[in-house]
């Protein structure tokens, strides 16, 4: 795959595009308030995972509900390696977050290969059922290994510094003050936060989460956080984005000038840009045509010398790599990994995002990611105005996702991008 | 009597039928012949209600059938035996046969099925077996039998000879013309195999590229070498 990818890549054309996007988003990241950075981090994370879904569901035509589970693989590899390894095995380098992300991607490739080999033989509904089973069965696997994987309570992560190192104790104490941290930030004047925005963000913190991240001292082992870590997994997680909002302290300042959300967003944006670059080159290159050929007519593709199985497996591996990278970023954003965070709802929301945006489009994936992050925010704002109960507010976004999924499939199978494309065509042909 | 007037069908930009008119009288076989892509199958599928016509009408004994669903058309007495193996392999011979008249009162249905079993003794012998154990000719008999279960006044046969041995083809076509006479059926037979079809038909209709190019008595058309060379390519 590698040589053809290199030959076909339009490095000269695509690289400046993604560097520009990266610079733009990075600039945006330091300009906005921490809550916005946090949304940015989430959206970039979703986009990373959904680039993989575009390739898998859109181009290769395999409907997977297990990509949330593949994200979990990335998240857990990230957590376990960063919690347990001080140096890179064999190489001996000082361990840091970048290494964790790389290892997470590696884990994703391995998992994708295994599932892909299994899935390449399966037709539509069988594949969907199997991947759904993987998504559902995943928490049991984590629960099976309470020691290293933290069981059903998950693992708390410490907050890395910008240089990639870890500082466990600082993070602990700082997070405990998270409620006032947002105000501190506003007072510091470096980045003024409107009062209602700051209070709005702290509203989303449930009390247990504050104590959870504020568990004193060394959080390296699961046993230390049994009490604290229980809160995220004990809660039902209807929408991952909603849960993640409540699971992360907002406006945390660990050091002068260091804003946790900004750091998280910068990692997330960087990963998303790299993933987007790779995805675009794959989609526009030979491999993209191979995937589409196999999707549209596997027999004709086989007669043309393409192996349908290899094509399907490669789509799974690539999408799994992206999912794992996104999972690692997600772990950073939550500063936590646990079965609840990577549940079925996450897998389903990836599907929602990719279908809403447009199944075969990378830009559509970005639109889908923004919708996934934006919808709960819009709904909770509306709920505040209209005085809806929590029961409504917490579930309305999911309800709308489901409804949109049906409506999109019925009236606009191409999603938002499909609508835009047909609108554009209508405009241009009329003239 | 089946009367087709100015029937047109398009698939996107492609015109499959272009103002086709023809009359199928009762008691005889009318054969539609023509090369691949002449629009013969489209004509049959449109008459049976599987394809929506763009314009034009078809009337069965003065009652309009175009614009109605396939289910209703069968129930009003016009049955299509579609091209290829149109029996359902998972069902038994008897189940396949009975399908054709499930909506009829059970006494009538039983009478008709007894008649059909008399006509096709092989089917009676194998009534409890799955239909995919039958030979090709037997399956074609079963498909015709199923079409007869609705007690039709008009029978549409789409390429019944497809993939069958010549001897069996002759048998089946002779049976069809016998049916037309004995049961006073209007039979519209579509065939690529012109010689065989014209042998049992009273009237021949030649189609080419969605148009009716010639209507005449079967003998007349069979004798016309020029026509054969121009449109039938055989």
């Amino acid at each position: 795959m590698m040589p053809t990818w290199l030959r076909d890549s339009r490095l000269l054309l695509h690289a400046p595009l993604f560097i520009a996007i990266w610079l733009l988003l990075s600039r945006l990241n330091v300009m906005v308030e921490p809550l916005m950075s946090y949304y940015l981090a989430l959206a970039a994370m979703y986009a990373t995972a959904m680039f993989g879904m575009v390739i898998l569901v859109g181009l290769s035509g395999q409907v997977s509900l297990g990509n949330g589970a593949l994200m979990a693989v990335g998240g857990y590899v990230f957590a376990v390696t960063s919690l347990n390894w001080q140096t890179v095995p064999l190489l001996g380098f000082q361990w840091n977050a970048v290494w964790s992300v790389i290892f997470a991607g590696f884990g994703g490739v391995v998992a994708g290969l295994i599932i892909g080999l299994l899935a390449a033989r399966l037709r539509g509904p069988y594949l969907a059922g199997l991947t759904l089973g993987i998504a559902v069965g995943l928490p049991s696997i984590a629960a099976r290994f309470p020691g290293i994987l933290g069981g059903s309570q998950g693992l708390m992560l410490t907050v890395p510094y910008p240089d990639g190192g870890y500082a466990a104790d600082v993070a602990g104490t700082a997070a405990a003050e998270s409620d006032s941290a947002a105000l501190d930030l506003a007072l510091a004047g470096a980045d003024p936060v409107p009062a209602d925005a700051a209070s709005g963000s702290s509203d989303m913190l449930t009390p247990s989460d504050v104590t959870g991240s504020g568990a004193p001292g060394d959080m390296l082992t699961a046993d230390d956080v049994t009490g604290a870590g229980a809160s995220p997994s004990a809660e039902p997680v209807p929408v991952p984005s909603a849960s993640s909002i409540s699971a992360t302290p907002s406006g945390t300042v660990t050091d002068a000038g260091f804003v946790l959300e900004q750091w998280q967003a910068s990692v997330s944006i960087a990963v998303a840009c790299i993933a987007g670059f790779v995805a675009l080159n794959l989609v526009r290159g030979r491999q993209g045509r191979v995937w589409k050929a196999v999707r549209d007519d596997p027999i004709a593709a086989a007669l043309a010398g393409i192996s349908p199985a290899a094509s399907k497996v490669s789509a799974f591996v690539v999408s799994s790599l992206f999912a794992a990278l996104a999972g690692a970023v997600f772990a950073q954003i939550l500063t936590y990994v646990g079965p609840g965070a990577y549940g079925v709802a996450l897998s389903l929301s990836l599907l929602v995002g990719v279908v809403l945006g447009g199944r075969g489009s990378l830009v559509g994936a970005v639109i889908g990611a923004v919708l996934l992050v934006g919808m709960p925010v819009v709904v909770s704002n509306l709920a505040g105005e209209r005085g809806w109960s929590d029961q409504i507010t917490n579930n309305l976004p999911t309800f709308l996702y489901g409804l949109l999924l049906v409506v999109v499939v019925l009236v606009a199978p191409g999603g938002v991008m499909g609508l835009l494309a047909s609108g554009w065509r209508r405009l241009t042909t009329r003239r | 009597m089946l009367e087709v007037k100015q029937l047109s069908v398009s698939f996107g930009a492609v015109r499959a039928l272009n103002g086709v008119s023809l009359v199928v009288p009762r008691g005889e076989v009318t054969a539609v012949i023509g090369a691949n892509g002449a629009g013969k199958s489209t004509l049959m599928r449109t008459l049976a209600g599987l394809v929506k016509p763009e314009s034009g009408t078809a009337e069965l004994d003065g009652v309009q059938v175009t614009g109605r669903t396939a289910e209703d058309i069968v129930r009003s007495g016009m049955a299509l035996v579609p091209e290829g193996r149109s029996t359902i392999p998972e069902l038994t011979v008897e189940e396949n046969l009975h399908l054709g008249g499930l909506w009829r009162p059970s006494a009538e249905r039983k009478a008709t099925s007894a008649e059909i079993y008399d006509m096709f003794p092989v089917l009676a012998e194998r009534r409890r077996m799955r239909s995919d154990t039958l030979s090709g000719g037997e399956r074609q008999q079963l498909a015709i039998g199923r079409a007869l279960m609705c007690d039709p006044t008009c029978l549409l046969l789409d390429e019944p000879s497809l993939g069958l041995a010549p001897l069996i083809v002759t048998q089946i076509l002779q049976l069809v013309s016998q049916l037309a006479r004995e049961k006073d059926l209007a039979v519209l037979l579509v065939e690529q195999n012109a010689v065989t079809a014209l042998r049992v038909a009273t009237t021949g209709v030649i189609m080419n590229l969605g148009n009716v190019v010639r209507v005449g008595s079967a003998e007349e058309i069979a004798a016309d070498d020029e026509l054969r060379d121009a449109y039938l390519g055989s």
Binding site: P125, G129 | L50, A70
Partner: protein, 292 residues
């Protein structure tokens, strides 16, 4: 040895319910070649309706009846509004649409009834029966579950093999065009298949609710179990779905009994994966079981 028997007996009851869910999946598959991933969502929703009726009237049987009617209606609605239009599209479209229905039904239920589990009453005692001086892991309620399951399976089998309606449904499923050309109202038959599946799912929901407790997501895991049973049984076979549904229940009971409860989904997943690897079209896909 006695514990082994106890585990098995316990497994029968949950197996019967899994079998019913698997049966519902098979009914939909047979009628429209779609795996209805929303099936347990529909069952959850109708069970909530049954729960409301039970709370209002105090009668379990009225609740069951309400569940049945709601199941049929919901099945029809989902088919007519969502799946019938979608069938013209690709397979991915129908899979995504059923998940859309699942998500929105679950969220709707959570909006109406909240996320907390509700306890659903039983019409007869749910304590272990005492026979021969020891308490067995079978209650009168379990007996009721077996009886209802058995009645449903027999009734469905008779419907499909002995009635004109059943024949019409099978023909519509196997070859819609030939069915239409035979005068069968195919769309009605497909819709009836969905309604029937909705009824079977609703029964399964009401039966499992007392043991599983009732919440918007409490049936999720059952979807996987039922899907596994249906796929291993071949997706086309009523008998296969029932046999492997009960089999899945037994496996779960043994795993939970001898191992840890949390391992059950993994074992079922392995069962599913192995079946699909060996027979990608389901264990008893094509073949004689399809005619049943």
């Amino acid at each position: 040895m006695t514990t082994f028997i106890d585990y098995l007996l316990g497994g029968f009851s949950s197996g019967a319910v899994i079998a019913l869910f698997a049966l519902a999946l098979v009914l939909v598959w047979r009628s429209t070649r779609i795996v209805n991933f929303a099936q347990v969502g529909q069952a959850m929703f109708t069970t909530f309706i049954a729960f409301e009726v039970q709370q209002a009237t105090g009668s379990w049987f009225l609740a069951l009846l309400a569940g049945l009617v709601a199941g049929a209606v919901l099945g029809l609605i989902v088919y007519a509004l969502v799946l019938r239009p979608v069938q013209r599209l690709d397979t991915s479209g129908s899979i995504i649409a059923t998940f859309g229905v699942l998500i929105s039904l679950q969220a709707l239920a959570a909006m109406i009834w909240g996320g907390d589990p509700h306890s659903f009453p039983t019409p007869v005692a749910n304590e272990g029966l005492e026979i021969g001086g020891r308490i067995w892991p079978i209650s009168w309620y379990d007996v009721l579950v077996y009886a209802v399951t058995a009645v449903l399976v027999v009734a469905l089998t008779l419907l499909f093999t002995r009635t004109n309606l059943g024949l019409s449904m099978r023909a519509s499923a196997f070859n819609p065009e030939v069915a239409k050309l035979s005068g069968i109202r195919v769309n009605r038959m497909l819709a009836f298949g969905w309604a029937l599946a909705g009824v079977v799912g609703a029964v399964a929901g009401v039966l499992i609710a007392p043991t599983a407790s009732l919440s918007p997501n409490s049936f999720d895991i059952l979807l996987i179990f039922a899907f596994t049973a249906a796929v291993v049984g071949g997706l086309d076979s009523l008998i296969g779905a029932v046999a492997f549904g009960i089999g899945t229940g037994l496996v779960l009971a043994l795993v939970t009994g001898y191992g840890e409860a949390g391992d059950a989904p993994i074992i079922v997943l392995i069962l599913l994966a192995v079946t699909l690897v060996v027979r990608p079209g389901g264990a008893f896909g094509r073949g004689k079981s399809r005619a049943v």
